[in-house]
């Protein structure tokens, strides 16, 4: 560990906090339909979309209609994406002549992108045509992110409205965040990345003859346009197999800084936007505070563990931290920051290989996924996720003092708490259930690259990543086989929509309630006590769920390493 390393971490954390407010103010305006500086150029496109689709933007939906629209849109997205992947061989922009993806790989990949997970059973440059990357992956990068972000609008209305039967219009919310937020930001970011070296072309792969006379084939493609939205939309599915570790996806420390920032920028800003939309920005900052506590702790632990390095290598006279699976241009601090950001947010892109991390270094991304992808989580999904935890936290606080719990002026009753528990428990059910089966199933064990506790962690990480809609991996696991493609796909689907539906039910129920004026007995939810309570609830709930499973993986591996044992 060096002072420079800590300074790099501090700069990255400061950077993402500094942009939260301006971005949050802008997003709140967009989501509330207020006029922004983009209005003149984008509004005509927006109204054109509505008229072509037959959407009446003034007509609001009940929560049930909202969910129905959301599910219909995502179902259509899945069918189109699956069709593109299965028909890849017949479609254009395929210079390498890749054929169709297998049924299970196409299922897994389509689900993965629709659910904003972007788990990579595919290997970009060896499997996918440019058409599939653009029309399949890039489109879902936009709309799956927009789906998550859209829900923040009714979420804010659930608290700001009283006795309401409607919560908004899904098509309007979806269109606005796509046209005013995601698309303009992606265009700017794509050009910035190209200027810094990221390719953007439709060329054939290039055959180079090296100075030594050997042949090197270099994969190409429209990388920058996919990469920009992949980072901003917390998608994380790489254009190339190794994602943002690839020198074309992340050529320098400058691109790395932009891409790192983009992982968490929107998710953090949404907390501020949410606060503003409910009329109390401080409430948003309290949620953002909880998120930053976890990001800070994650960066610190990962940096400490990786900088300490591998004792087996030190014994051979090798000097330095753990650089297996890391790039020289990023080094250990920026790898630790990325690993923390990408799993704190449910992004899942990587600039280093988590599967080669030290035991406790690899524990960080795994735990950040397992605490529910809420610090800050995916765009939209992280915020509604942390509000679910806030509901549980206020319920716990209410039990302690024997008072009916309330949050942001709405009374929390049996229905909300039940729905919140449903939303929280679905993740551990799928992670632990599938991991347990895979740990004894021969066909599942055949996919492991590492023996011992690391192999078991590959399984646990895969299902955590799928259920958390993250997408990163302990990538030694050969996941592109019927068992993993299918079960991981099921986990992604269940934990995306199995959380969205109860969350929308909570939104509908809260919106219908009257607003309570704060009284002397109201627990303030914009202060340090609330931040500590919420952080504590997140740790305790996930700790109870996952500690035994973690003890068998990274924790036991750490002690075996200290004892000098190898596998």
């Amino acid at each position: 560990m060096t002072l420079n390393g800590w300074l790099q971490i501090a700069i990255m954390l400061a950077l993402v906090v500094l942009t939260a407010r301006p971005l949050g103010i802008f997003m709140a305006s967009v989501m509330q339909g207020k006029s922004t500086f983009l209005h003149r150029s984008v509004r005509p496109i927006e109204t054109r979309l509505y008229s072509l689709a037959g959407v009446d933007e003034t007509r609001e939906q009940t929560w049930l209609q909202y969910v129905a629209s959301l599910l219909a849109f995502n179902a259509a997205g899945f069918v189109l994406h699956y069709a593109i992947l299965r028909l890849q061989g017949f479609l254009p922009l395929n210079p390498q002549g890749f054929g169709a993806l297998s049924e299970h790989l196409a299922f897994n990949t389509a689900v993965s992108f629709v659910t904003n997970t972007n788990w990579q059973s595919y290997g970009g440059e060896t499997t996918l045509s440019y058409f599939s990357q653009m029309v399949g992956l890039t489109v879902q990068n936009f709309v799956s992110a927009a789906t998550g972000m859209a829900i923040i609008v009714p979420l804010a209305r659930a608290f700001s409205r009283a006795n309401a039967t409607t919560v908004g219009n899904f098509w309007v919310d979806l269109t606005r965040v796509t046209l005013y937020v995601l698309l303009p930001l992606s265009i700017i970011m794509a050009f910035a990345l190209i200027a810094l070296g990221v390719p953007q072309n439709l060329s054939n792969y290039v055959d180079a003859t090296t100075l030594e006379g050997a042949k090197q084939t270099i994969a190409q493609g429209p990388v920058a346009s996919q990469l920009a939205i992949k980072q901003l939309g917390t998608n994380g599915g790489g254009f190339f197999n190794v994602n943002s570790a690839h020198p074309y996806e992340n050529p320098s420390i400058w691109t790395n800084t932009i891409e790192s920032w983009a992982i968490v920028a929107l998710a953090l800003a949404l907390a501020v936007a949410f606060g503003r939309m409910i009329g109390r920005e401080r409430e948003g900052w309290a949620l953002l505070g909880v998120m930053m506590i976890f990001l800070l702790a994650g960066c610190a632990i990962a940096y400490w563990a990786e900088a300490a390095g591998n004792p087996f290598m030190h014994a051979m006279g090798v000097d330095g931290g753990n650089m297996e699976g890391k790039e020289v241009r990023f080094g250990i601090p920026q790898s630790a920051v990325w690993a923390t950001f990408t799993t704190g947010a449910s992004n899942g892109s990587v600039n280093s290989m988590h599967g080669s991390y030290m035991p406790l270094g690899g524990l960080v991304p795994l735990v950040l996924i397992q605490i529910g992808e809420v610090v800050p989580g995916g765009v939209g999904s992280g915020l509604y996720g942390i509000v679910v935890f806030a509901i549980i936290a206020m319920f716990v606080a209410g039990l302690m003092v024997g008072r009916t719990p309330e949050y942001l002026g709405k009374k929390l009753e049996a229905k909300e708490v039940k729905m919140a528990m449903l939303a929280i428990l679905i993740m551990p059910a799928f992670i632990l259930g599938f991991s347990a089966v895979s740990a004894v199933l021969p066909v599942a064990l055949a996919g492991l690259a590492n023996p011992g506790p690391r192999g078991y962690t590959e399984i646990l990480y895969a299902f955590s990543s799928a259920a958390g809609n993250n997408g990163s991996a302990f990538a030694g696991l050969t996941a592109n086989a019927p068992w993993y493609d299918t079960t991981l796909g099921i986990a992604m689907l269940a934990c995306r929509f199995g959380i969205i539906v109860p969350v929308m039910a909570i939104i509908g129920s809260l919106a219908a309630k009257p607003r309570l004026a704060p009284s002397g007995g109201t627990f303030p939810t914009d202060g340090a006590l609330f931040v500590a309570l919420l952080a504590g609830v997140i740790v305790i709930v996930s700790g109870l769920e996952f500690f035994p499973a973690l003890a068998l993986g990274p924790i036991v591996e750490h002690f075996q390493m200290l004892a000098g044992k190898t596998f």
């Binding site: 219909a72 890039t138 699976g325």
Partner: protein, 201 residues
Amino acid sequence: MLQQLRVAVIMLLMFTVLTGVIYPLSVSGVAWILMQDQALGSLVRKDGKVIGSSLVGQSFTSERYFHPRPSATTGPDATDPSKTVDAPYNAAASTGSNLGPITKKLIDRVQGSVDGLRQEGVNGPIPVDAVTTSSSGLDPDISPENAVLQVPRVAKARSLPEGRVHALVNAQVEGRALGILGEPRVNVLRLNLALDSLGNP
């Protein structure tokens, strides 16, 4: 519900055209006009022929060149296409080793690299990047310490004074951005190109 599905399909198709066709193609078009070198992959040419990309690492094995880090990429076996063989710096199929820190396979591999360097006459501590594979398998850089380590071998193979090669390495070191971000590094391809121009005055 049928009405919802109709709206869903139309919205999806419109977003597909907008974000999946117009967006990437217009970005490609503008990039092709304004930033062609980067857009086409920062290719490096020598005598008109593409010898690689300045961003993507490539394999060097000759004693006359500086060597990149070990790479975990593989390629299809020429004799049996169903199998793969080690193919370092295969830029058409990036991958890391994904080996864990207490996995024997990793430790044996690193030991092999260490032994190789010791046989070359390297004493003292070995910089970690010289014996570990990168996450992409295509790392274009090595640490300055790793480059310095290779100076005696390269100087001997080219019959150049060590001081001259050492000075060349120092000139090729790129520092941290703003003096803070990232790590000091040496781009192996650029270093080797500079080396060639040194050898053939």
